[in-house]
């Protein structure tokens, strides 16, 4: 009996133990007990200097960060002062403010002219010219007022920002290019002072008699000339005088004529000497030169002497180039040749063709024995032949340009 009770007791205990075993098995396992794997985390600390973030375009110091609205103001003076306060250069502030003021006044002017704008065509039909649209006293007054106001603002701004100083440009007068820089400046200053003296004198003598006026002006000129002369050495003065001469101007205008600076100077001197020793003849009555029988021969003799002198100096070819170089027709032809990438000799050839044709035309017109019809026919034939020859000489590429820029004379040939 007692054995049976023990057996029952142990069976009950066993059942309880089975239940306990099942409960334990159902529980979630302990997290760190992954069987067979031991994970160790090794944390290493490194201290690094982090590079600066991508450079912002502007690193604006101050806090809160600077914004343009902090300086911008509707009041011009405040705006200007604000700009200067943050170190804006006065010239930059001036650029900003001048534009701002101009724009603002432009808008106001536009408002004033708006009534005209709506009637633009009507007013034009009435007045005819744009400028006459302003012939409106009330509008003129308003615009004047606006201008005065703008000027006041500009003066106020100038007090804050200072006046714009125009960049000084070196004063160069090529006539004095042979002088040292410092002397050129002295001459320029003297010329400026002389100009003021002349203006003052002109005001002073406005009421004087012509004789008094002339005498005073001459006295001033003489004094100024003396003052100027003092600045120059003899050599410098001689060169300056040569540069001032008409002969210098003449050689400087030569085209298609090759010469060095020394050769040109020498040529100008030769021409000046010739003109001094061979003054141009003057007819007895300047209004009727043909009435003086000696006049034309004198002119021709002088021309012959001049030609002989220049030919001796420059040679036949050089003299021809000199004569051609002062011919305005040749200037245009030279440019055309340059554009067509042809040598200057081509321009000379075209000029010769033109001169020959024009000489023939003159002869035909002067030939009184020729009947009108025959003359007209001859002129027409000459024109056709000249055009054909010229076209071949100039070439297809340049022909229309020749006609446009240098061909007016062709149209006159057959007339």
């Amino acid at each position: 009996m007692s054995l049976r009770r023990y057996i029952l007791g142990t069976v009950t205990a066993n059942l309880a133990l089975v239940g306990a075993l099942l409960w334990q098995a159902a529980r979630s396992p302990s997290p760190a007990t992954a069987a067979g794997l031991n994970v160790t985390t090794n944390v290493v600390t490194e201290f690094v200097n982090e590079p600066a973030p991508p450079a912002p375009v502007v690193k604006v110091p101050g806090s809160p960060p600077f914004h343009w609205s902090q300086v911008e103001a509707t009041n011009y003076l405040t705006y200007a002062t604000n700009l200067l306060a943050i170190g804006c250069p006065p010239e930059t502030a001036r650029d900003v403010l001048v534009a701002r003021v101009a724009d603002a006044f432009l808008v106001r002017a536009r408002e004033l002219t708006r009534p005209l704008q709506g009637r633009f065509w009507e007013v034009m039909a009435e007045r005819g010219e744009l400028k006459e649209l302003f012939e409106n006293a009330a509008l003129e007054e308003l615009l004047k007022g606006l201008k005065a106001e703008r000027e006041r603002v500009q003066v106020d701004l100038q007090a804050v920002l200072g006046k714009a100083v125009p960049a000084e440009k070196p004063v160069r007068n090529e006539q004095f290019g042979h002088l040292p820089e410092s002397k050129q400046t002295e001459v320029a200053a003297l010329d400026s002072r002389h100009g003021e003296e002349i203006s003052t004198l002109n005001r002073e003598v406005a009421q004087a008699t012509p004789a008094e006026r002339s005498a005073k002006k001459k006295a001033l000129r003489d004094r100024q000339q003396t003052e100027r002369r003092v600045l120059f050495s003899d050599g410098e003065w001689d060169e300056a005088e040569l540069r001032r001469s008409a002969q210098a101007a003449q050689v400087r205008e030569l085209r298609g004529f090759s010469a060095t600076a020394d050769e040109l100077r020498s040529l100008a001197r030769t021409l000046r000497d010739f003109d001094t020793t061979h003054p141009r003849p003057t007819p007895r009555d300047p209004k009727q030169p043909a009435a003086d029988p000696d006049y034309q021969p004198k002119v021709e003799a002088r021309e012959t002497a001049r030609k002989e002198l220049l030919t001796a100096r420059l040679g036949q070819g050089g003299f021809a180039a000199f004569e051609r170089g002062g011919d305005p027709r040749f200037h245009t032809l030279l440019k055309l040749a340059r554009r067509l990438e042809l040598p200057p000799a081509s321009a000379a050839q075209w000029l010769d063709l033109q001169t020959a044709a024009q000489t023939q035309v003159r002869q035909l017109r002067e030939n009184v024995d020729l009947p009108a019809e025959a003359r007209a026919l001859a002129l027409l034939a000459l024109r056709v032949e000249t055009e054909r020859t010229l076209q071949a000489a100039v070439g297809a590429r340049g022909w229309s340009a020749y006609q446009r820029h240098a061909g007016d004379w062709l149209g006159q040939l057959a007339k």
């Binding site: 057996i7 142990t10 205990a13 133990l17 089975v18 075993l21 334990q24 302990s30 007990t33 069987a35 067979g36 994970v39 985390t41 290493v44 600390t45 490194e46 600066a52 502007v58 690193k59 604006v60 110091p61 101050g62 806090s63 960060p65 914004h67 343009w68 609205s69 170190g87 930059t92 650029d95 900003v96 001048v98 534009a99 101009a102 724009d103 002017a109 536009r110 002219t113 005209l116 704008q117 009637r119 034009m124 039909a125 005819g128 010219e129 744009l130 960049a167 070196p170 290019g177 004789a211 002339s214 400087r252 205008e253 030569l254 040109l264 100077r265 440019k335 590429r397 340009a401 820029h405």
Partner: protein, 429 residues
């Protein structure tokens, strides 16, 4: 005996279950150092960053004040970006950069143009060649400047154009009135287009020395078309048309106005301007290229076509008025007698008498057969005749008004030219 065996087995089972429970309990509650077959070590690096100094905190009282030099940079792109970053408005940015760039390029241009070399003794060819070379350098600088402005501001701008537009004065006011149908920004763009294309045209003509080959004409036509295209991009089609008509009205149409005796409404004048614009290239004119682009024959054809269209538009009577309106003599008569109620037929009569007298006076002055005294006498008679004819046509009030304003011109026109006696020459050394 069997009961004892069953008890023994049950006890053994109890023991085993106890052992299993104990083992499981220990496994669940034991620390993780439980035996592992593999060891894995993971190394992680923790970066402790030392950042660059941050901008001064808001509340710090020793914050450095903002200074303009922070914005400035020798590199215009950086300067522009800096200004934009602080919220500088685009218009202000333009007003800062353009003059600055202009000054820079003026200095660079001065380097090209200012030469201390003595170049006096040069032939015209040598001088021209030097100037062409200089012009080419200046042109290259100009194009470089334009490219810089385009890069910085995203569009072509001309400082010179804006400066001109902002200049106070009558010219600017006229332009303002002419272009007043467009808004300010459109005007700025139109001015810029005009300035730049005008400069392009001038540069082209200078480079070609004014001698234009057929290829050059094509280039210049393209330039003119570009200008028109740029204006068309700025303006709406209706505004473009308005501009075309207004520009046409400024050229050769000044006489077409009521004050010159041509009775027109505003609408009619606008329509006539269209006819003018249709027969003339107003954009070429504005660029000063019409003489280059169109031979004289074509320009004359344009004039003739306009005259014909005008004649049809106005009808014969008003067309005659328009023709008379071109003549200053008629304008003087019309304007001086406008308020006196002179009839149009009388006015036309007076004009014809005045014009005829002018022709006769010219003939008398040119007649070499006449002596000075005879000429003077004939002209005096002509003056008297003309005055009578004018008085008859205009009536006493009208004639008086005319003489009051233009009497002196009438006398001068019908007299011998006044020759001033030469001032006595002052002897000079």
């Amino acid at each position: 005996m069997r009961a004892a065996l069953a008890l023994a087995l049950s006890l053994a089972l109890t023991g085993a279950l106890l052992a299993m429970n104990l083992a499981l309990f220990q496994a669940r509650t034991a620390p993780p150092v439980a035996a592992a077959d593999r060891k894995v070590t993971v190394t992680t690096t923790r970066l402790v960053r030392h950042p660059s100094p941050a901008p001064t905190p808001a509340l710090q009282t020793n914050a450095p004040p903002f200074h303009w030099r922070v914005l400035e940079s020798p590199d215009y792109a950086v300067y522009a970006a800096n200004l934009r970053a602080v919220g500088c408005p685009e218009r202000t940015l333009r007003d800062i950069l353009l003059p600055d760039i202009e000054k820079l390029y003026e200095e660079r241009e001065a380097e090209v143009t200012d030469s201390a070399a003595d170049t006096f003794w040069e032939t015209a060819d040598q001088r021209d060649a030097r100037q062409r070379q200089r012009a080419a350098k200046l042109r290259a600088l100009e194009l470089e400047k334009r490219a810089l402005i385009q890069r910085l501001l995203g569009a072509e701008w001309s400082y010179a154009a804006l400066k001109e537009l902002r200049t106070e004065g009558f010219g600017a006011a006229l332009v303002e009135l002419l272009l007043g149908f467009a808004d300010t920004s459109q005007t700025e763009l139109m001015f810029t287009a005009h300035e730049l294309r005008g400069a392009d045209a001038k540069a082209y003509l200078a480079a070609t020395e004014g001698i234009l080959l057929d290829d050059d004409l094509t280039q210049l036509h393209a330039l003119r078309d570009r200008f028109e295209g740029e204006l068309a991009r700025v303006l709406a089609p209706s505004e473009s048309e308005e501009l075309r008509r207004r520009l046409a009205a400024l050229n050769g149409m000044e006489h077409l106005a009521r004050r010159n005796g041509v009775n027109l409404t505003g609408g009619e004048l606008r329509e006539i301007s269209r006819l003018r614009a249709d027969t003339h290239d107003v954009f070429a004119m504005v660029l000063d290229l019409d003489d280059e682009l169109y031979p004289e024959v074509l320009r004359q054809q344009g004039d003739a076509a306009f005259q014909e269209l005008l004649r049809r538009f106005l009808g014969p009577e008003r067309f005659a008025d328009a023709e008379r309106g071109k003549d200053q003599l008629f304008r003087e008569l019309f304007q001086s007698t406008e308020k006196q109620g002179v009839a149009k037929t009388a006015l036309v009569q007076a004009y014809e008498a005045r014009r005829a007298a002018e022709r006769q006076a010219q003939e008398i002055r040119a007649d070499q057969q006449l002596s000075g005294e005879e000429r003077a006498l004939l002209l005096a008679a002509l003056r008297a005749q003309t005055a009578q004819a004018l008085a008859r046509s205009l009536g006493p009030v009208g004639f008086s008004a005319y003489v009051k304003q233009h009497g002196q011109q009438l006398t001068n026109a019908l007299s011998l030219p006044v020759t001033r006696p030469r001032a006595a020459a002052v002897p000079t050394q």
